[in-house]
Symmetry: C2
Subunit: 441 residues, 2 copies
């Protein structure tokens, strides 16, 4: 056995990921030492209460409620508490005491990333966060290092397993949102309060992290446009399938050219919404709770990274990879996985985005309706690519209505929304059923 | 403009990749400086002859035939000559003079990797080679860093674009090998001498590199079992499709347990051969000249990395990512992308491998044949999962024959080959049409 230097590792949090990290640190201690060039001693596990029931075989003497002392005496601090406080405070004091930090905390990085990275920069510490963006999928190092000589044009990510699980089952089984959500909650794929997932908050945090890295720009969470999937119902799924699409909740990070108010003409857009993806696109075949990040770079062309986006042991893999990197750096010095925000591109509102749309309208079933609708679209600078009249619904207490599904050419989001408002106000339109963006073609 | 330190970058070779690397270094100089924290000055491009015709707009004064002087005065040396010599000599002298090295040279790394990495270790230099394993696809950093806290069980890679292009067209068009190869040569997807690709030599070099990294073991090229795709014909393709498979040339790197002659019971197998992949497997939908690397790790579970495996500008993306990493390291110090061979697992012969097989036999069409064949398989410890008699061929000058397609349960390769030899010698077997491994289920 090589006589390695000892590094003290503090673990904050003993939940699904934390308990796996602790177990693997103990189980694979020798292998990890060989790879890191240092023996990684699990110095302690900070938890809120020692009495909380734990389904774990970890040595009880490792647990402590004194996070501050544990942090102060450690070389590497793994933060797996989640949320803003006390995670933020613990990370800042770890940095202050000269430790390197590993975290999977997307909420914290998306809101306080710059504060944390600046604190680390000041003292030459490093903050690693491979597990914060797409669980077990290696995406941070590829974006920061492998693509550092390239220019990312666009990222389209399925970065939330819960919503992909729900949309995938709605698609393959023809089920309704509420039924699948209830089932997902029963099976543990969704939380009792599913808001963070189904409203896109979790995906928006990850989008902010990915966009910051890819575009070398600090992207604040507030700049991420966010829509959830609660409005997606069976009829939207059916219509998408009929048109050759599947509905996916996408995190889209895009470089935009020709922006007058940017010094270089370049800006970025970061947005999370349910979008129609062509069935032939690689992202369309990402099933269940899996994640995938599709990256288009100027030189490399299209790349895709696929794997488990969540799960205790899967996420622990990404955390431990970071711990080994932190240990190597702690010994050899040099650069960690910091942030470069040199480009500092403006983040523009979703109104500037140019994409294709599918608009579904319920219209009164009478001559001249299509001409009126087409006129409103044309006036609004939205060009029609396809129109299909799908069903005619006769209702006893109302005029007969028909359903129009309109596929547009590329249009600017602000033109599109203004046009949709005018459509909604039109006498021939009974109801705007849905407006969905089409991404990935 | 920030006042960055200057790093001199030498480029060796101005082929398809080299000329793109040079062009991008010049075009994106400011952005690269921001990301690297150093200005990357292209100091020169070493070529064999200044008079060779070049389809490039690169400044002529950058070209030189004096590689030695260029190397001696540079901080980072990019080797894109390929082959063993003079690439090896140039890389060793670059390391000797204190430069960091970036190379895409799979042939050199697969044969002289340990020599090069040891030379670099001795002086604290780094050798980066993201482009050597799967072109533009980031796979080196994920294996070395992101998965450093995990244990890779198995890699299945489509790492040769030419053969994937050929097999994909044979599959989708029902075309013959020779016709598609000729077309691929005409379109520039295959070399005039296609041996390196179609016989699996290129894939074997990449397999050695991937296995070395994934298993922390120096895997010599000679230890890689290698078979090409020249025996794959339309009838094999048709039978594969009929059985729900597609034929892919796979580089398989696998951790084996229960090996008596290994101290830990663990060993590895590294092999390249055409294999049957279930249509539902993610690798089955890798089309055209694309590459993909499917990784199964103990904690992370299945991961897939997908993208362009070749092409000048695509490969240049990976090379430039390495140049930025080398520059950061050159300034900040610390660890590069070296090799860990601490595990040093034995690499076993293909005979030890356990997998499923599909055996296709032409047998005489008479009663009792299936019983004889089944008896031979059973005697050889090969258990039958499925049997299908596909066609009966009546020939005027011979006995009528039938075709048997046998799917086996998992069997050891050495048992299987011995059994196939006995089948071939049997009176009831007219011909062993094909024996293919089934991977990925």
């Amino acid at each position: 056995m090589t006589d390695y230097r000892l590094l003290r590792v503090a673990l904050l949090g003993a939940g699904a990921v934390g308990s796996q990290v602790a177990a693997l640190l103990l189980k694979h201690a020798d292998e990890l030492a060989d790879r890191a060039g240092a023996r990684l001693q699990l110095a302690g596990i900070a938890v809120r209460s020692l009495d909380a029931p734990r389904d774990t075989e970890l040595p009880r003497e490792l647990f402590t409620t004194d996070a501050a002392s544990l942090i102060a005496s450690s070389d590497i601090v793994i933060e797996l508490i989640g949320g803003i406080e006390p995670a933020r405070e613990h990370i800042l004091s770890a940095i202050g005491s000269g430790a390197d930090v590993v975290t999977a905390n997307k909420a914290l990085l998306a809101t306080h990333g710059p504060e944390i990275f600046e604190a680390a920069d000041r003292v030459g510490a490093s903050v690693y966060y491979e597990a914060a963006a797409a669980g077990a999928i290696p995406i941070i190092r590829p974006l920061r290092d492998s693509l550092a000589g390239d220019r990312v044009r666009r990222i389209m990510g399925i970065v939330n397993g819960t919503t992909n699980y729900i949309l995938d089952r709605m698609d393959t089984e023809g089920a309704e949102f509420s039924d699948v959500l209830a089932d997902a909650q029963r099976l543990g794929y969704a939380e009792a309060d599913p808001t963070a997932d189904v409203e896109g908050y979790d995906a928006a945090q990850k989008a902010a992290i990915l966009a910051s890295l890819a575009f070398h720009t600090a992207v604040p969470l507030e700049a991420v446009h966010r829509e959830g999937i609660t409005a997606i119902d069976k009829s939207i799924m059916d219509a998408a399938r009929h048109a050759g699409y599947v509905v996916k909740l996408l995190a889209v990070c895009e470089r935009l050219d020709g922006q007058d108010d940017s010094p270089t003409g370049e800006a970025i857009s970061v947005r999370v919404y349910p979008a129609l993806v062509p069935r032939s696109h690689p992202l369309a075949s990402v099933h269940g709770a899996n994640n995938a990040v599709f990256v288009e770079a100027e030189a490399a062309g299209p790349l895709m990274f696929y794997g488990a986006g969540a799960g205790g042991v899967q996420t622990a893999s990404a955390v431990l990879g970071d711990v080994v990197s932190a240990a190597r750096r702690h010994i050899a010095g040099g650069v960690g996985v910091g942030e470069s925000t040199r480009a500092n591109l403006p983040v523009v509102e979703v109104g500037r985005v140019v994409t294709r749309y599918q608009i579904t309208l319920e219209v009164v079933d009478q001559p001249g309706v299509l001409s009126t609708v087409a006129g409103l679209l044309s006036d609004g600078h939205v060009s029609i690519a396809t129109v299909e009249q799908t069903t005619t619904i006769g209702e006893s207490d109302a005029a007969a209505t028909a359903r129009l599904v309109i596929g547009t050419h590329k249009a600017k989001e602000q033109d599109l929304s203004a046009t949709v408002e005018r459509l909604a106000a039109s006498e021939v339109v009974a109801r705007v059923v849905s407006v969905l963006r089409v991404e990935g073609n």
